[in-house]
Symmetry: C2
């Protein structure tokens, strides 16, 4: 029974067939509690009324809006812009619409978006969580309604579903090693979250490289940016002012890279002579900055594509289950002149 | 009667009340063809069944999805990313959801998206058209269904509704004058469309500046990029190879700027000594390129905000009509070192 049926229709079907609303509702959902005979009666009346389904008038979450919801923290980051292109590529091939919802890093907003999905607006969801998100009840609630969810990039380890990520730990470890090999004896780690999975993994990789190279991990080498860009910038400037030669910086996301360039310019510090810099970044401009920026470049398009492919499989194959697995698509360290060649 | 009612429900109401489907449908739409008595009977049954409206199960296009659809060509451009933030700012204040749809510069895709809106999925639409879009029947069709539409940035002059733009003509004229004043005697104009309103206006501003300064307009100074990035790049490289000193370039959109830097690097040409460059661009990285890029920076956030404010007004005020007016929010020429200081 593929038709979309709302509450009012259920009440009318109940009245017409002399059954309870709950029985009709269960029959429509193909519940095992309802006999085949009853299901047939309900189905027959729906057929008889010759209903032409309206793909958007969903109420019971049957999957035929042919729409994928993509929940992102923002689009000003090149990673997300490129991941969207990968998602759209798969969606188009398989006849799905893509709707993009922005949480703006806000947990309440993300909750509202997922709540909205419960009404059947989308068939499945691809999500990269907001930096504020530490609970997952909103995700569990949607999964309970049989809406398949695939995480990409910013995942929640505690949730049992597919996750597409890059090798965050290993990339950060290699980048930190690179800085150490190039002569840095003190390395700052620029962060913007204490809780986000990807940032925690990148921080752990950074720590591991320090440990392997007999460098001390110190809290005052970790700078965590908040929501006040001006205040954050002053903090960074202060930290760099007191930095001696041999300092390296690992920026854990793209948007933290340009403030470093700004601060060095303002303080008349040279990159890479005074300070060496590596950033996680997918920005095309990295190669043309002054100096060109050494980056950890993530396979953003590929991650979007892989996540969307898995979700489409889950939507189209009755027996395909999204397992609690991570698919890891590795990043590349692209060495440019912000680290000593 | 504010409930959302689908086709199946209409058929059941018709059966229950002994009326035709068309009568029920008209009664629900509060049509003047239907008597008050009949409307009351239909209404009473709906009330009696105590229906809790599902805000997303729209079928009759009444405006209460509380959702704004934003149709964009892409999100990899900083202008659009910043405009989205302006739109979301107004939407949030007024309790609207924002859904982002990407046309990927494809007319057929844009048409499908707008067709999709006819089912009542969104209350109103903000659109910046694809570069392929030269007809507007898809936009007219949606406006015929009383869905309010506001254009921003990439508008269609022929369509009678509000348009929020920047001063494209004047900005390009001023940028071209700037290049001439700095010693350029030949100026290339980099385009990616022959038909898009903003590009035509920017080209006209460029022409005007040439004319005002006794420089000849020549077709072979206009380079129009297509969909093949490699081919386009080779074309640009060939053009720059044969360029003598005193050449300036005006890039009409952000994404055309980095290929210029790439070509100059490959050809060992210096910016600004050999070639001066100005680009329309909202990218934060412009100030940190080598050399820093002189830009025409558009008020992207403001344009998004203004467009969304007008749309919300049109949705909330019964007597507010979107007129065929342009609101122009001016851009700023930010002089940096890619033009001689």
């Amino acid at each position: 029974m593929k038709e979309k049926i709302n509450n009012l229709t259920i009440k009318m079907l109940a009245k017409e067939l002399g059954l309870s609303v709950s029985t009709i509702s269960k029959a429509i959902r193909d519940s095992h509690e309802i006999s085949d005979g009853t299901k047939e009666r309900v189905n027959a009346l729906v057929q008889k009324l010759n209903y032409i389904p309206n793909p958007y008038a969903s109420s019971l979450g049957s999957r035929n809006s042919k729409t994928i919801g993509v929940v992102l923290p923002e689009v000003t980051d090149s990673f997300f812009a490129q991941a969207i292109n990968g998602i759209e590529c798969v969606a188009q091939e398989n006849g799905y619409h893509v709707l993009i919802y922005l949480s703006h890093e806000n947990f309440e907003k993300e909750k509202k978006i997922l709540k909205d999905f419960e009404s059947g607006r989308v068939d499945g969801v691809l999500i990269s969580v907001a930096k504020e998100t530490i609970q997952h009840c909103h995700i569990d609630a949607l999964m309970d309604k049989a809406v398949p969810i695939v995480f990409f990039d910013r995942v929640m380890d505690e949730v049992t579903t597919a996750k597409i990520i890059t090798n965050d730990y290993e990339s950060a470890r290699l980048a930190t090693e690179h800085l150490i090999k190039k002569g840095c004896n003190r390395i700052l780690f620029l962060s913007f979250s204490h809780t986000l999975s990807i940032i925690c993994k990148r921080l752990a990789g950074y720590k591991k490289a320090l440990l392997d190279n007999q460098l001390k991990y110190a809290d005052n080498n970790i700078l965590t940016f908040g929501n006040d860009a001006k205040k954050d910038y002053l903090l960074l400037q202060k930290k760099l002012k007191s930095a001696s030669k041999g300092v390296g910086i690992l920026a854990s996301v793209e948007k933290l890279a340009l403030p470093i360039y700004q601060a060095c310019e303002d303080l008349q510090l040279s990159i890479p002579e005074d300070i060496q810099v590596i950033s996680f970044s997918n920005s095309d401009s990295a190669a043309f900055l002054h100096p060109p920026l050494t980056t950890i470049t993530q396979p953003a398009f590929e991650i979007g594509k892989t996540a969307a492919s898995l979700l489409v499989k889950a939507l189209e194959r009755r027996n395909f289950e999204l397992r609690n697995e991570e698919i890891i698509v590795p990043s590349t360290l692209v060495v440019r002149k912000s680290t000593i060649g």
